[in-house]
């Protein structure tokens, strides 16, 4: 690190370094976890688009809007749960097979979407 640099540039550089380290460490993440991350992002973005639509047009029909958003958010939450359980770094779930976690994920998704369909109207 060069000491003569200004505070702002140092902050920028710090941030840059931080991002760099984050990216480099994320590269090391196993592919299956990356897939789950991608899936979570997909769900959250879909939810955001629906919220934008609601902000522009209005909340009618409100239950449809709620089911759409909650479907996305619920899927994302379940995916996060799956990620926690599948991650090998988490010693807590060492004894849990990833297949079992996936089975849980599928089942929870089915139950969630049954409720969502019921609520959709």
């Amino acid at each position: 690190m060069v000491k003569s640099t200004t505070t702002t540039s140092s902050t920028a550089k710090d941030a840059q370094a931080l991002f760099h380290s984050l990216r480099s460490s994320y590269v090391a993440t196993p592919t299956n976890l990356k897939i789950i991350d991608l899936y979570v992002l997909f769900a959250i973005f879909t939810a955001l688009i629906q919220i934008c639509y609601m902000a522009i047009v209005g909340s009618f029909p409100f239950n449809s809007f709620l089911s759409g958003v909650l479907s996305c958010v619920g899927t994302a939450v379940l995916a996060v749960c799956l990620r926690i359980q599948v991650n090998k770094e988490n010693k807590e779930f060492k004894d849990l097979a990833p297949e079992r976690a996936f089975a849980d994920f599928v089942l929870c998704n089915l139950v969630l979407h049954l409720v969502i369909m019921n609520f959709l109207g």
Partner: protein, 695 residues
């Protein structure tokens, strides 16, 4: 408010005229009303009558009234007549069958009458009651009239006459049979008819002294006539056995029938005064149109018998109208006819006198002869030159027969009193209305009123002032007139009404309303009062009911203890009438965005999916772990995905059309299958990974 009041007025007039008609005691002869009533009453059900008695009554009534007897068809009635004549042994059945047969001339075999004749002869011999004699003798008379059995005569006429006479009572009544203690007038009528039959059936002449005693009986019987005030008289009996009580119409008709029959066979005159016969005729005419078929038959048959009896023929003086309008220059018309409406012999009608009911002793007109108009068959009197004013009068008429021989035959009944109404218009004049101060002196503003139409006055007064209304009522002849109803009505805005009777002195009508005295009666209600004046009378052709205008009344405030104005009855129309129509307001449809915008966002929601798929490609995802080598795991894996897709598809169907219960049932099956194949697939994968680990 106007129409109910007008209705009330109309009702009063109707009431007055009805009362007038009741008092009138003008008896109208038989008219078209009776003919239409006869057609209505004697209308057989399905072409035939319930009994031959009813059929006879119908035929007889139609015959007298001259109505076409199409309603009684011989095709449907004759079979019953023949059946009764051939098989029945009851004299009553035979009697009515023969009566009907005399009208319809049914085809009856000649030997039938021979059988009946002997049957009836035996019945006469065995008879013990008046009814038995009446039916059997009556039947024999009918057979004789028919001429079917040659000279059908009673075997022991004298003996039969004696045995019927034995049932008579000293007061002219008859006992129904030898056992009954009570004698009745109804039975007397039947007995007289039976006796008449015996006389006509007898081969030898009956002892004149016997006939003389029966004649005396008849005269005694007529002593029990009861009288109405209007000259009508009738027979009525009050028997202890209500079953034998026939009512006044039936009883009177029975006597009249008996009298007519007996008078026709007996020689010499029965000594009855014409007034009694006329009284009976008036009674039967006074019934008007009776309410039942039986009564109508009795009425018509009796009137026919009275008119054609040898005793005396009643003549009825009738007026087509008892209300004469002076403004229309109507003539007063009087008709003299027999009870059935046929013409009378030459005669003169004389107005003996005419007077007002209030001043009976000072007749306005005396001894005036009416002009006879042969075209309309009516006697008329031109009333206009006689100087009658409007009002109610009583006219007394007398019928004078030209031929002195006729005086013995016809009963005119001396003088006839008839109430006559002369109507005309009344002029309301010099009407003035004024609000006066308390001393009555200072006349503030007198206003002239025109009572020929509604006016719209606008007055104002306070409680220290008075309202004065004056007017005059003058008839066309210039006399003062005092109607039965002269009312002033004040109606407050709240519909509280106050009605005052307007008094009169001479021709001047005046009312002064002293509001100081009336404040309590007015319930201290200040404000606008509508003024209405009502003047009405039965003889006033222009009775009126006028809105005069309104009065703004300023009354002091009500003290605490003052009585409140009563609640006005709610208009029933507003309570029970139709309610205002209900309009349904439906929920307005929500504002929807434009379709393009929604579709754009639909596409936009797919963008993250594409991003996801692109990301997957970038990551280099593969399906290496999908089992390919072995067959059963492959099948399991494929089926796992198929069932997963099926469940999602079912979710779609649930959203689109199915209900929760059917969906859950089917999902249960799909879920079990999914569980099984999911378990197999994942356990296969798990075993694969654990092998890798161990390796």
């Amino acid at each position: 408010m106007r129409s109910p009041m007008a209705r009330n007025l109309g009702f009063l007039f109707v009431l007055i005229s009805v009362v007038a008609i009741c008092e009138a005691s003008v008896f109208q002869p038989i008219s078209e009303n009776h003919r239409s009533a006869a057609l209505e009453f004697f209308s057989p059900v399905d072409g035939s009558f319930t009994s031959l008695e009813e059929a006879y009554e119908a035929l007889r009534t139609f015959q007298i009234l001259g109505v076409e007897k199409n309603t009684v068809s011989s095709t449907s009635t004759c079979p019953l007549v023949v059946k009764n004549l051939q098989s029945s042994s009851s004299p009553q059945d035979l009697f009515y069958a023969l009566k009907v047969n005399s009208f319809l001339n049914c085809k009856v075999e000649a030997n039938t009458f021979a059988g009946i004749f002997s049957k009836l002869q035996a019945a006469v011999k065995d008879a013990s009651s008046v009814l038995d004699y009446y039916y059997s003798v009556g039947s024999l008379v009918l057979i004789k009239d028919k001429g079917a059995e040659g000279d059908a005569l009673l075997v022991d006429a004298d003996g039969t006459f004696h045995s019927i006479k034995a049932l008579s009572h000293s007061d002219g009544r008859w006992r129904l049979n030898s056992k009954s203690a009570e004698s009745s007038i109804y039975a007397a009528g039947l007995a007289l008819e039976a006796l008449a039959g015996v006389v006509s059936l007898s081969s030898t002449e009956i002892d004149p002294s016997l006939i003389g005693t029966v004649k005396n009986d008849v005269v005694k019987l007529f002593d029990s006539l009861e009288k109405y005030d209007d000259g009508a008289s009738y027979f009525n009996e009050k028997l202890t056995d209500a079953r034998e009580d026939h009512g006044p119409i039936s009883t009177s008709a029975s006597v009249v029938r008996g009298l007519a029959a007996f008078a026709s066979v007996s020689t010499g005159k029965i000594n009855l005064s014409g007034d009694r016969i006329l009284g009976l005729a008036k009674y039967f005419l006074g019934i008007g149109v009776p309410g039942s078929a039986q009564d109508l038959f009795n009425q018509i048959d009796s009137l026919y018998n009275l008119e054609n009896s040898r005793v005396s023929v009643p003549l009825i003086l009738s007026l087509p109208a008892t209300v004469v309008s002076l403004s229309d220059k109507n003539q007063l018309k009087v008709k003299v006819t027999t009870v059935l409406g046929s013409g009378a012999p030459p005669l003169t009608v004389k107005l003996v006198q005419a007077f007002q009911p209030s001043s009976k002793d000072t007749p306005l007109i005396e001894n005036k002869e009416l002009k006879f108009d042969s075209e309309s068959n009516a006697h008329s009197l031109d009333v206009l030159p006689l100087g009658f004013d409007i009002g109610k009068y009583v006219f007394v008429f007398r019928v004078l027969l030209h031929d002195s021989e006729h005086k013995k035959i016809y009963a005119t009944g001396g003088q006839t009193q008839v109430p006559i109404f002369f109507t005309g218009s009344v002029k309301a004049d010099n009407a003035e209305i004024a609000v006066l101060d308390s001393d009555l002196q200072s006349t503030g503003n007198k206003k002239k009123l025109d009572l020929s139409g509604d006016t719209s006055l606008s007055l104002s007064a306070d409680h220290l002032q008075k309202l004065q209304l004056t007017f005059q009522l003058i008839t066309t002849l210039g006399h003062s007139f005092k109607p039965e109803q002269v009312f002033l009505k004040l109606t407050h805005e709240t519909k509280v009404e106050h009605i005052f009777v307007v008094g009169s002195s001479g021709s001047q009508f005046e009312i002064v309303l002293d509001f100081l005295r009336l404040v309590e009666k007015f319930f201290y209600l200040s404000g606008r009062y509508n003024i209405q004046l009502t003047v009405g009378d039965a003889v006033m052709e222009n009775s009126f009911h006028r809105d005069l205008g309104h009065l703004e009344l300023d009354l002091p405030k009500a003290p605490e203890k003052a009585t409140r104005a009563p609640l006005q009855p709610v208009d029933p129309y507003s309570r029970y009438g139709p309610k205002p129509e209900i309009t349904h307001i439906f929920r307005l449809p929500e504002k929807r965005p434009r379709q393009e915008l929604s579709l754009a966002f639909l596409v936009l929601t797919f963008v993250p999916l594409f991003g996801f798929l692109l990301g997957l490609l970038r990551l280099g995802v593969n399906l290496k772990k999908f089992p390919t080598s072995e067959s059963s795991p492959l099948v399991h894996a494929v089926l796992f995905h198929v069932f997963l897709a099926a469940i999602l598809g079912w979710y779609l169907l649930f959203w689109l059309k199915m209900d929760l219960f059917t969906t859950l049932k089917q999902l249960g099956i799909l879920g079990t299958m999914l569980l099984y194949f999911g378990h197999r697939t994942l356990s296969y994968l798990a075993s694969g990974s654990s092998k890798q680990k161990s390796a």
